[in-house]
Amino acid sequence: MKLRGSTRRRRSALPTGRGIISDSELHRPRVRWTLRLIHGVTLILLLIIGLGPLLWLAKSSITPTQDTIRTPMSLWPHGFDLGTFARAWSQTHIDRYFLNTVWIAVGSWFVQILVATTGGYALSVLRPRFARVLTALVLATLFVPSIVLLVPLYLTIVDVPFLHMKLINSFWAVWLPAGASAFNVLLMKRFFDNLPREVFEAAQVDGAGPFRLFWSIVVPMSRPIIGVVSVFAVIGQWKDYLWPLLVLPDPNNQPLSVRLPTLQPTTQLDVFLAALAIATLIPIVLFLVFQRMFLKGGDLSGAVKG
């Protein structure tokens, strides 16, 4: 479609440095200074709006509660207390919910990667006769808003059809539905479609079967896309709220996102803010480490969603 074409054009357009404003316009002092002013203001606004709330959270999580309530915007409170993190971690049992979150994210990641790689491989490389129908069926789910699934999916978890198992309060209730991501499967399939077929043919001549071809050729060649899907899978699960709230009613199994709102009324403000900071840490670190993936991924998601 339209966006897919633009990705290709983008690469050829990259080397030419100019944007809307030409070099000759930049040499005019009025343009240059206005532009500098706009950029300076934008940078300051972005710092305040993008980074500000997080810096405030970092500051307030080590500030005594009374200071935060009375003068939330003061830069220098009466003393700092790093102990809030230790108290949030052990007394409020953030450690347990943190581990739940990690465990839920890891399991969902595994199921998502398993379904997306094997499914994408079957649809793209093995291509059985009904592959086109299956691809269309997977694609069709992209157009069904997730809200339609909420209630019937919940009832499916309460009583899994054919197996008659109750998955409520089990991590499987989050892990398994996470795998049903059409976005992942189609992304993987598109990547496999573009792998050179000659390599597959060569491997076949050397006697590789479908499993060998998958494990020794396709998976190693697809590390970049598997990396992208992995990072988004972990962050997505970390951010999820409604679904784990529904299927994990036992507080001992709940992830941070579900626990934090219920902890709020009974937790001291400084300890609570420390807990919020702990919950934000991993996604921020992942973002900073894999920045390029996020900031280049914009057109990727746009192309499939559109």
Binding site: H39, V151, G306
Partner: protein, 315 residues
């Protein structure tokens, strides 16, 4: 379904046909083994629930008694519910506010950012940072910022310029705009990244040509940049409308739908029907309302693409 779906299906089909099929093995069993995880997971947790929601919407079902067919009764009960109209108008109000406040901001930001020749990465990282913060954390943090007392974070800041204090979430008039502010903060970064990529794809020759014709910077933005972004702008607009019509976490945690149902959204109402019913979950009504929302979005998207097709495909 909607026309873009059909077109994409056609595109996928075409590509599959063109490439020669590779015979990896004649063993259908191994193909089945690779398909199995996808078939199981999609079957149980995607295809089956989609079909089931259609069935449930015409049944009276509550997990206790066996479901009975009730025709369109569930739909009639939803429409007759006085909260239904409230939820629909609130959701539309939110979508409208999010459009007015949230739609132009990423575009302006992206155009300004694309003209930077230094620290490009810093700008986009800062703009994207709120997107990776877990929504629950942002809501709980902003709830504190929205503190209605004069010493609340935002009220303190308003005090610096001699304004306020505002009641923010506690007044039915300001609650929804407050939620829109937070949602815009949390979501704008993703759209900025999409626009930045699209801005790079604008052919440079068009700017050169416009300059030859003596166009000023503003004229270049108005007559070259924006028309070239049309396609992307149309898509982000519809994606934003689809996303805002499914608003849940923010009103659920900020206000629980209050004050006086001023922030009760359609999704919140579905949640109430299914999971916060003292008489046991009314899953039929919840399914009926979900399907009404999905059908509306489907028809709306189809009409939207039909109407905008002639403008957006010429680039």
């Amino acid at each position: 379904m909607s026309s873009p779906a059909v077109r994409t299906v056609a595109a996928v089909g075409e590509r599959t046909r063109r490439r020669p099929r590779i015979r990896v093995s004649r063993d259908g069993l191994s193909t089945l083994a690779f398909l199995l995880p996808m078939l199981l997971i999609f079957g149980l947790f995607s295809w089956f629930p989609i079909v089931r929601s259609l069935i449930m919407s015409v049944q009276e079902t509550n997990l206790v008694s066996t479901p009975t067919f009730v025709g369109l009764d569930n739909f009639a009960r939803v429409v007759a519910d006085p909260l239904f109209g409230k939820a629909v108008s609130n959701t539309a109000y939110f979508a409208l506010l999010a459009l007015i406040i949230g739609y132009p901001i990423p575009l302006v930001l992206a155009v300004v950012m694309s003209e930077t020749r230094r620290f490009k990465g810093l700008y986009s990282a800062l703009a994207y940072l709120p997107v990776v913060v877990p929504p629950v954390v942002s809501v709980l943090l902003w709830q504190f910022f929205f503190n209605a007392s004069p010493t609340g974070v935002f009220n303190t800041m308003l005090g610096w310029v001699g304004l306020g204090p505002l009641p923010w979430l506690q007044d039915s008039g300001t609650a929804m705009p407050s939620i829109v502010l937070e949602a815009t903060w949390a979501g704008a970064g993703g759209t900025v990244i999409i626009y930045l990529a699209a801005l790079l794809s604008v052919p440079r020759e068009l700017y050169d040509a416009a300059e030859v014709d003596g166009a000023s910077i503003w004229q270049k933005i108005w007559h070259v940049t924006l028309p070239q972004l049309r396609g992307v702008l149309f898509i982000t607009l519809i994606l934003q409308l689809i996303a805002t019509s499914q608003l849940f976490t923010e009103p659920f945690l900020f206000t629980g739908g209050g004050p006086a149902n001023a922030t009760l959204t359609v999704l919140l109402l579905i949640y109430h029907y299914a999971f916060q019913n003292s008489l046991g979950g009314d899953y039929g009504m919840a399914a009926a309302l979900s399907i009404m929302l999905a059908a509306f979005l489907g028809v709306f998207t189809a009409v939207y693409f039909r109407l905008t097709r002639s403008w957006s495909t010429t680039s």
